[in-house]
């Protein structure tokens, strides 16, 4: 119990400091932070629409947090979740558009294909870091910028040509047989359940399987692992493959989830307008960091950030307020020293 508390307290401190800073921001713009937060939580949780939005955000946020933290456990930085989401999403869309299949199999194959291409993109950075000494931080960010125009290209010149769109290209309409099943009462797909299951699976994988164990060993003690015959390079690449696959899965979820029709274009346009930077890939990093890189923690911090994001949208505030807050929260999370020192919890290394 004490151990759990020690793990959770710094996250909560960082969250509170971030919310405080956000409140100051709102106050500076002449808004009453209490009213805003009330409206925000009410908007996210008080309406069916808000709740559905929370569930939709949640699936991406949790999966992208895992896409960041699993390679992180092996000591490699995957800042490329955003690009891997794009590639995964566009792959799923291509499969749906070009390869008609029987029901159930159709979305399943699309999802698997998305995982494969997402993993492939991440592996490029993994291989470059392990074997060419090129920092994955930089190459994953660069590949985000490659993945974005590339998937736009495919979207606007391959997919939109082939399928009907509605509302001035806002939506690409996919056959319902190709989409993920929706859950009752909400305007959301089963994706958020998958995300939670994957998070639990990731916890099990890291703690209980030999590969997960080797990943953690390489992250915490690369030299020790090497001297016992574990190859850190291979393990890092494998960790990136897993991370990329999960980001790809999130991408497929974005594209194939919708209550009515598949709003591929809407999804992507939203992201383009925002620039990839504020996108879900980066929210995923915030989710993972606040969760102190724990997969189960990522479920909870994922829910929290989804509420913030959905609520902000619902009250008509610009979602960028949330991003500014996320940035501040991340900076505070980067200072375990600060919260441990302030609260006198004793030095505890949280990263990896």
């Amino acid at each position: 119990m004490v151990r759990v508390l020690r793990g959770v307290v710094p996250s909560i401190v960082a969250l509170l400091l971030g919310l405080l800073a956000g409140s100051v921001l709102m106050w500076a713009f002449g808004l009453n932070p209490f009213n805003v937060f009330y409206a925000l939580f009410d908007g996210a949780l008080g309406t069916r629409y808000g709740q559905s939005t929370v569930l939709t955000y949640m699936s991406s946020y949790i999966l992208l947090a895992l896409a960041f933290l699993i390679p992180g456990k092996a000591g490699i930085w995957n800042v490329g979740g955003q690009g891997q989401v794009f590639i995964g999403g566009i792959t799923a869309a291509l499969v749906v558009v070009f390869i008609p299949m029987p029901i159930i199999l159709w979305p399943l194959v699309a999802v698997i294909a998305a995982c494969i291409t997402g993993a492939g993109l991440a592996a490029v950075s993994g291989i470059l870091e392990a074997y060419r000494n090129a920092s994955a931080i930089v190459t994953t960010i660069m590949l985000n910028y490659v993945a974005q125009p590339f998937s736009s290209l495919l979207l606007y010149y391959v997919i939109v040509e082939r399928v009907p769109t509605v509302a001035q290209n806002q939506y690409v309409v996919f056959p319902s047989a190709a989409t993920l099943p929706a859950i009752p009462f909400f305007n959301a797909s089963i994706m958020f359940i998958i995300a939670i299951l994957v998070a639990i699976g990731a916890k099990y994988f890291l703690q209980r399987t030999s590969l997960g164990y080797n990943i953690r060993a390489v992250g915490m003690g690369p030299k020790q692992a090497e001297s016992k015959g574990i190859n850190p390079k291979t393990i890092k690449v494998i960790a990136m493959l897993i991370g990329g696959a999960l980001a790809g899965l999130a991408g497929a979820g974005d594209v194939l989830s919708a209550g009515h029709g598949c709003y591929l274009v809407a999804c992507y346009q939203d992201n383009f307008a925002a620039g990839w930077f504020g996108g879900e890939g980066f929210a995923g990093i915030a989710v993972a960091l606040v969760a102190a890189n724990d997969p189960i923690g990522a479920i909870f911090s994922g829910i929290f950030f989804s509420i913030l994001a959905a609520g902000t949208a619902s009250v008509g505030q610009n979602i960028y307020v949330v991003w500014a807050m996320q940035g501040i929260i991340i900076v505070f999370m980067a200072a375990p020293y600060l919260s441990t020192k302030v609260l006198n919890l004793g030095g505890k290394k949280r990263w990896t």
Partner: protein
């Protein structure tokens, strides 16, 4: 071809000046992944200062905006390096945080602050001179900052190589223990070096709003900061090579404006500079050696 040189040089201004700033920072052992965010904040500040002065004081000089941008860069880097040096904030995580913060913050600010939808056109830096007749309709404006771009690598080289402070920066980035043993204050040197680098990041960010685009748009930096970061790495932490890399990357960004393509080609050209960067990093990194203490916090024993 001429067009490519023109646009390439203009793009290289931001990349090269930012890379020089990041180079000084990294030489002292501080890795600032937040370079993109710091530039974005500076770009916004430059426009905002300009806007504010116009509104309340009278005709503003873009140089005032430039000063504002540079000060923002200094402040941001000062806070960042103090956090990492004093309370051991993880440099990579904090850098990511700064980037996300900057995108959100500048977007909100540009909407609320300017109190109009969109962003105002600001006055731009006067051209030192214009080179005309390059093509039927185009004149190349030689911005004062282009001059800075060419001079700066020399200055950085001289600063790091010939001055006392430059020597200290290199020592603390490479072997902080040895530097401490020689009586150098490691933490202070790193904070000062990072703040100095911040001034250059600020200048690079400001160039976008007060000269190249003449206005602030959200996410105006669009990854240019990361390309500058890559230029430092691919340039092997050497001012001359970093400048060379900046020109290369700048030219590949400039391609977008030269081809002015529509349709599929547009997207291919948009991704080109980033692809080039990854390829160059993949080829160059194997043999490169970063400052040994890069991104490692220093703790006295």
């Amino acid at each position: 071809m001429v067009l490519l040189v023109v646009f390439g040089l203009q793009q290289a201004i931001t990349i090269s000046i930012a890379a020089d700033g990041e180079l000084i920072t990294e030489k002292s052992g501080v890795l600032n992944i937040g370079i993109e965010g710091v530039m974005l904040l500076s770009a916004f500040s430059a426009a905002a200062v300009n806007f504010e002065v116009e509104r309340f004081v009278g005709p503003s000089s873009p140089y005032i905006g430039l000063m504002g941008g540079m000060l923002t860069g200094v402040a941001a880097n000062f806070i960042f390096s103090t956090l990492s040096a004093k309370i051991h904030v993880d440099q990579v995580i904090a850098g990511i945080g700064i980037n996300i913060f900057a995108v959100g913050m500048t977007y909100v600010m540009s909407q609320k602050y300017f109190e109009i939808d969109g962003t105002p056109v600001s006055n731009s830096l006067p051209a030192l001179f214009n080179v005309g007749g390059l093509s039927s309709s185009l004149t190349l404006k030689i911005s004062p900052l282009m001059l800075v771009m060419f001079v700066l690598p020399f200055l950085v080289y001289l600063f790091l190589g010939k001055t006392k402070f430059g020597l200290h920066i290199r020592a603390v980035g490479e072997n902080p223990k040895a530097a401490e043993a020689a009586g150098i204050k490691v933490v202070r040197t790193r904070i000062l070096a990072t703040s100095l680098g911040g001034a250059l990041l600020g200048m690079a960010g400001s160039y976008l709003t007060i000269d190249f685009f003449n206005q602030f748009t959200p996410d105006i930096t669009a990854g240019i900061g990361f390309i500058a970061l890559a230029a430092v790495i691919a340039g092997g932490w050497n001012p001359a090579y970093t400048f060379g890399m900046s020109l290369l990357f700048g030219t590949s960004v400039g391609l977008i404006y030269v081809v002015s393509a529509t349709g599929p080609l547009f997207y291919l050209i948009t991704m080109f500079p980033y692809l080039i960067t990854v390829v160059v990093l993949g080829i160059a990194s194997k043999r490169l050696r970063p400052p040994s203490a890069l991104a490692l916090p220093y703790r006295k024993e």
